[in-house]
């Protein structure tokens, strides 16, 4: 009926299967190639993909930041099945903790403030989760929704964290090598030129170089590299934890909480763990957001809409699949920027794109393989039954 329906995930399955069948050396080569492309993306600036009206490096940073958030939220929504509608709250807690420690009430270096921001967000997750995770379902959604707004409204009114004016001059991460000297020297260990495309003909653009391991306020690319590295580390961690007793306990709790409990899973503990872990990854991305290129945050940076976008990213990508979450996060960050040419209509186009996606693929772009298999089996049975009904009269 709809031929395109399963093609993306079927193709993805085939890619995964083929990859798994390769010898180790080939696998390593593929991963290396993909990594090189991923890291080089904002410098390659491939035509069509590149955004025209806004700096591509900035967009790519945003894309990865969203992918990281979606990866964290996927643990909460996708693995443990807890609907968190106030994820932006944790994002804000991470960002504000970093800002307070590095500039507002201290002068900690970023890389010292980062772990503390993660810990503070995790604690806020535990405080929020401990009372609410005991009750089921809807309450958590309501409480988290409130939490997101409470954080935003609180920081808007608390002078100690800058109130409505926000916090500026948040220091950038400490780099290695030469310091950036605006306007021309980017610094770092070395500088890499980016590509300039004239139609389909690339050339080196030596006037816009990106610094390796130096973080200034003119170029987003070094931040992109940093957050991409973090994303990869979190991705590896996610994979290790998911393929263990912990991941199984999350899934079992999501599937049937009573049965899980009676099979010896301390479901409350695991729900709280997923919730706090998701929160801390949100805080981690918030921390990077605060210290990024602009070095400025205010309460308006954390609207309710952002929480909804995060949830949309996980659902659109395919709740429960880490690659789906990354794809969803990337898409949700990328599309509005790509559609900037449509000016006032860009959010409309974005909304349409999400709606089309929801209708076309209700279970997300890349749902977990298990769901796909279940769907496939169902479809087979349906086809058999339909076939029986249709064919019998002809025979």
């Amino acid at each position: 009926m709809m031929a395109g329906m399963g093609s993306i995930s079927a193709r993805w399955d085939r890619v995964v299967d083929r990859y798994n069948a390769q010898p180790k050396i080939v696998k390593i080569l593929w991963v290396t190639l993909l990594l090189v492309i991923a890291y080089a993306m904002p410098l390659l600036r491939p035509p069509i993909i590149t955004t025209n009206s806004i700096d591509f490096g900035t967009v790519m940073f945003r894309v990865i930041a969203f992918a990281l958030v979606a990866l964290g939220l996927n643990i909460v929504i996708g693995y443990a099945g807890l609907l968190d509608l106030g994820y932006v709250g944790f994002y804000a807690v991470g960002a504000y903790t970093t800002a307070v420690l590095t500039v507002e009430h201290g002068s900690w270096p970023f890389f010292l403030a980062l772990p503390l921001a993660i810990v503070v967000t995790m604690i806020s997750g535990v405080i929020l989760g401990a009372p609410t995770l005991r009750v089921r379902g809807d309450y958590l959604a309501i409480v988290t929704l409130g939490f997101g707004e409470i954080i935003r409204i609180s920081v808007n009114n608390i002078e100690w964290v800058g109130a409505a004016a926000g916090i500026k001059n948040i220091p950038h991460p400490t780099g290695i090598g030469a310091k950036p000297e605006p306007p021309f020297k980017q610094g770092g260990l070395f500088e890499i030129p980016r590509l300039e495309w004239n139609g389909l003909v690339p050339s080196f653009d030596t006037e816009h170089k990106s610094a390796f391991l130096a973080f200034g306020s003119r170029d987003a690319v070094p931040y992109y590299w940093l957050i991409l590295t973090v994303l990869i580390l979190v991705l590896i961690g996610d994979r290790l934890v998911k393929a263990s007793r912990v991941g199984r306990a999350w899934e079992a709790t999501r599937e049937d909480e009573d049965a899980a409990e009676l099979m010896g899973v301390p479901t409350f503990k695991y729900k709280l763990m997923a919730f706090a872990l998701g929160a801390s990854i949100g805080g981690l991305s918030g921390s990077f957001y605060a210290s990024s290129q602009a070095g400025y945050i205010n309460p308006q940076s954390f609207p309710l809409l952002l929480s909804m976008l995060f949830v949309a990213a996980v659902i659109v990508g395919g709740s429960g699949n880490r690659w789906g979450a990354i794809a969803g996060g990337a898409l949700v960050a990328y599309l509005p920027e790509r559609f900037r040419d449509f000016a006032d209509y860009r959010l409309l186009v974005f909304g349409l794109a999400l709606t089309v996606l929801a209708v076309w693929r209700p279970e997300g772009l890349l749902p977990p393989r298990q769901t796909r298999r279940a769907k496939a089996a169902e479809a087979e049975i349906d086809a058999l039954e339909e076939g029986d009904l249709e064919e019998t009269p002809n025979v």
Binding site: S244, D258, L262, G264, P266, R373, A377
Partner: protein, 265 residues
């Protein structure tokens, strides 16, 4: 295990348990025990309180009065997953598998019941994680073999046939390493051939060293496989004894057997 040598110890004691839901007395001063290594049948007509009894034993309900003692521990105010850790496992009358997990993972969840692997063990792949994971995997595979669904280990639980889902439930419960395995109407919806295989499976489970509590409607199955039977009616225990004794007990025949067997045939 050699249960014949010494007089058997009571593994589970239900002592004068009463449960009321508002005005309804679901269980009225019920007492019985389950001895190590035996297969005990718990029977009774619909609404007799079998499942309530089951639920109070597994910690889903709290007794209004009286208590349940399992392996020397009184099961009061004990979290449900802790009761599982003490060594009691159950299956569900209406199958409750983790449907979108694989067959193997379903059993692995059960096998994790005694695991001490923490989040950090998993993240850093410590030797403890690797050892526990390998043990759980071996155990899960063994159990799938015992219940006879090894070939389908990579399938989603939801895609199994009804009978195989029941088998998977038994394997998952056994994976928690129980001293007592409680089966809640495992033969519901089975045809006679499947029931026959289930009886063999239950005997095999007992021979593996488990104590089994069987709640069942089907008389032939209960008579054929159990060592001892407790009969409930309207929340009260009306009889207790060997299958032969129960078969000849006039109270039981009046309350249950006559009616139900006519129904069945």
């Amino acid at each position: 295990m050699s249960e014949n040598a010494t007089p058997r110890k009571a593994l589970l004691e239900v002592d004068d348990v009463t449960i009321r839901f508002g005005g309804l007395t679901a269980l009225d001063s019920v007492s019985f025990d389950i001895k190590e290594g035996e297969i005990l049948g718990l029977i009774g007509p619909n609404g007799a309180g079998k499942t309530t009894c089951f639920n109070v034993m597994t910690g889903v309900y709290q007794a209004t009065s009286g208590h349940v003692r399992f392996d020397g521990t009184v099961l009061r105010k004990l979290k449900r997953h802790k009761i599982t850790k003490l060594g009691m496992a159950r299956t569900f009358q209406n199958i409750r598998l983790f449907k979108s997990m694989t067959v193997l993972d379903n059993v692995m969840v059960g096998a994790d019941a005694h695991s001490k692997v923490s989040f950090f063990d998993a993240l850093f792949r410590t030797p403890r994680h690797r050892r526990t994971e390998a043990e759980a995997l071996a155990r899960a595979k063994d159990l799938l073999k015992i219940v006879g669904i090894t070939a389908r280990h990579d399938e989603l639980a939801a895609n199994l046939s009804y009978g195989d889902q029941r088998r998977l439930e038994i394997a998952r419960a056994m994976a928690t390493g129980p001293k007592l395995l409680c089966l809640d109407e495992p033969a519901a919806g089975f045809n006679p051939a499947e029931k026959q295989r289930l009886m063999q499976l239950i005997r095999r489970v007992r021979d593996e060293g488990y104590t089994v509590l069987l709640i069942e409607h089907d008389m032939r199955l209960v008579m054929g496989v159990t060592d001892r039977i407790v009969v409930l009616e309207f929340g009260k225990k009306i009889a207790e004894g060997t299958p032969a004794e129960i078969r000849d007990n006039p109270a039981v025949i009046a309350a249950y057997l006559g009616v139900d067997e006519d129904d069945a045939s």
